[in-house]
Symmetry: C2
Subunit: 340 residues, 2 copies
DNA sequence: GTTCGTTGTCAAAGCGCTTTGGAATTTCGG
DNA sequence: CCGAAATTCCAAAGCGCTTTGACAACGAAC
């Protein structure tokens, strides 16, 4: 069933039917009623490809999903996507997901953009000096960035959380509890959030005249295995840390395993604060020792990003170009006074 | 840059350029070279919407992502998607993801299908007597199902793992170890895999004249919280179980917490076997007591499904219509002889 | 009774691509 | 050197939709 058939069936022209469907005013209410009823009965749906070809829009936002053999799927990605989806479904938008090797993000993004398949672009996993940003700016297509790119003038639309502030606050709390030997379990070194979180820790320590030694920070993709591995290394240092900052509850899962296996008590021998993306399957309050966390819902960020992006495409704006969300520091049992 | 401009630039007709690009034989090699070079230089890419309109194909497979406020994002979904993506990227295919309320799966699927935006459909989270199956069959569009639908003649293309066999084998192992009191921590009741796994357990027990009482099975979405909650209930039964079967390592995570908090020893007081989808962030060998599991990689299934689906669209077939993968039963430390 | 807005409708052009049916050119056997 | 076959290219139609510009039909206004 296409427009032509439908209009013939109704004895109307395609124009009139199209207008009736798209809510144009210059069509008789009775006629519109009749058309709408026919659509109900026949189950007619406009062909999106044709619609896109004609209008240049088709209600889709594009994103690149990093994937490759050997590349870990990221729990955080799924959670974020759910948030995007939750909002998109309300507007009958969909996503075009282009899987791409992480080494070819720029190429994939360009292909996606000029494929004429999407109305707007979304990018995440920002890096320092991210090469996608110049591309995006040159593309004359709406886009929105989750995170920011350290080292590049923030003159692009983004939504980010205050990573630096979060880890600054967390570090200060641990300092107040008397800790002096810190370690940081961070995400991959090149990623923007990792850079900023480290910065937060370093500057809080600096205020007390302390440093974060190179061998007390570890950068890795955020799996529990990596967390355990790194924590084991930390515990073997000549002066092992008493305070741990951790970029994800997933990392914390592994790190805590290492702590326990070393016969240490979390919240007594070792204090730990993790960043909590509010992953539904991994709640900090459910850890055997409930975790003190800096919290910001990844999913909520997804919802908001979809909202802004869709709004931009539909020209519902204006939206704030930049948003920086504060995180909450929630104290639970994994932090305690430094052992003496 | 579009075809017309490109062809004018080259002094050729659109036809010739199009043919040169799409590998048709009736074009001079020298001409083809020239066209290809021009494409390189200009960065020309065909408009997918136009291509789709003209050919009816555009290299995309559609899937519905269940999502709603309050609906848990599912780790398994992300992992599976990564597998799909890994294969799709090799063929320059992409996904169109339509988010939809779980209550409106059928409607969303229909909309996606007749939107003219996808070449093939993929569905997962199959239920018993799944209403999407009749729809899919009536749609005259290639599709592939992950899982099966209990109660419907399996005359549709699917890829599934042998859920019943897996849990049958796991139960037998526990029986051989002398266990007699079993509990099953299962996924949502209406889902096909849950139905079959339960069936596997029940039939293995039946062979020994045992039953699985109603209050010894629990159906819920697979988060660690639910796992813990259900396990706590099981442990309060008048005759608590010594053997646990568990539909996911995520559930196991919570269940084990409950076991530990009850002061029981895993692998001694309680034996547990979980199904392992090979989630990279949750490896059974990394549990404090390494987990005995039935294993089948969800990601590998994703790769295979994409391979078949893309092959079908490209008419590369023939592919087997149905595939049933065996799982591996891997014994680790979480299973031991029944306590006496 | 003519003119002028309104209102409801339509025919046709155009979006960027593929593909059909033919035309122009080249090749080659006889 | 001619006619047929093979090669190389082109003009135009068509995919399903939106949108522009125009046209009847109808009162209202002069």
């Amino acid at each position: 069933m296409n427009l032509k058939q439908l209009s013939e069936m109704l004895g109307l022209s395609q124009t009139t039917v199209s207008r009736a469907l798209n809510g144009y005013p210059e069509v008789n209410e009775a006629t519109r009623e009749r058309v709408l009823r026919a659509v109900q009965e026949t189950g007619y749906r406009p062909n999106k490809a044709a619609q896109r070809l004609a209008t240049g829009k088709a209600g889709s936002i594009g994103l690149v999903m990093p994937t490759a053999p050997g590349h870990y799927s990221d729990v955080h990605f799924g959670e974020f996507l759910t948030g995007l989806g939750e909002e998109a479904v309300r507007h009958d938008f969909h996503f075009v997901i282009m899987p791409a090797d992480p080494d070819d993000e720029v190429g994939a993004l360009r292909r996606l953009a000029i494929s004429g398949n999407v109305d707007a672009l979304f990018v995440a996993y920002m890096r320092g000096h991210d090469p996608r940003l110049p591309l995006l700016k040159s593309l004359s297509m709406p886009f929105l960035v989750h995170g920011r790119s350290f080292g590049i003038e923030p003159d692009y639309p983004y939504l980010d959380i205050d990573n630096e502030g979060a880890f600054y606050d967390a570090t200060r709390l641990l300092l107040q509890l008397g800790h002096t030997r810190f370690c940081l379990l961070n995400g991959p070194e090149h990623l923007d959030f990792a850079i900023r979180r480290k910065k937060g820790v370093v500057s809080a320590l600096a205020e007390r005249g302390l440093e974060l030694p190179e061998n007390c920070t570890s950068h890795m993709s955020m799996t529990d295995e990596h967390g355990q591995f790194a924590m084991e290394r930390f515990l073997q240092l000549p002066e092992p840390p008493t305070a741990i900052l951790c970029s994800s509850t997933v990392l914390a899962l592994g790190a805590i395993r290492a702590v326990t296996q070393a016969g240490l008590k979390l919240g007594e021998d070792i204090s730990l604060i993790a960043h909590d993306d509010v992953l539904p399957h991994l709640k900090p309050e459910n850890f055997s020792v409930p975790l003190t966390t800096t919290r910001s819902s990844l999913r909520a960020a997804g919802v908001r990003i979809a909202e802004r992006l869709i709004g931009t495409v539909k020209q519902d704006g204006p939206f704030p170009e930049q948003e920086l969300w504060k995180t909450e520091l929630i104290v639970r049992a994994s932090t305690g006074a430094a052992p003496r």
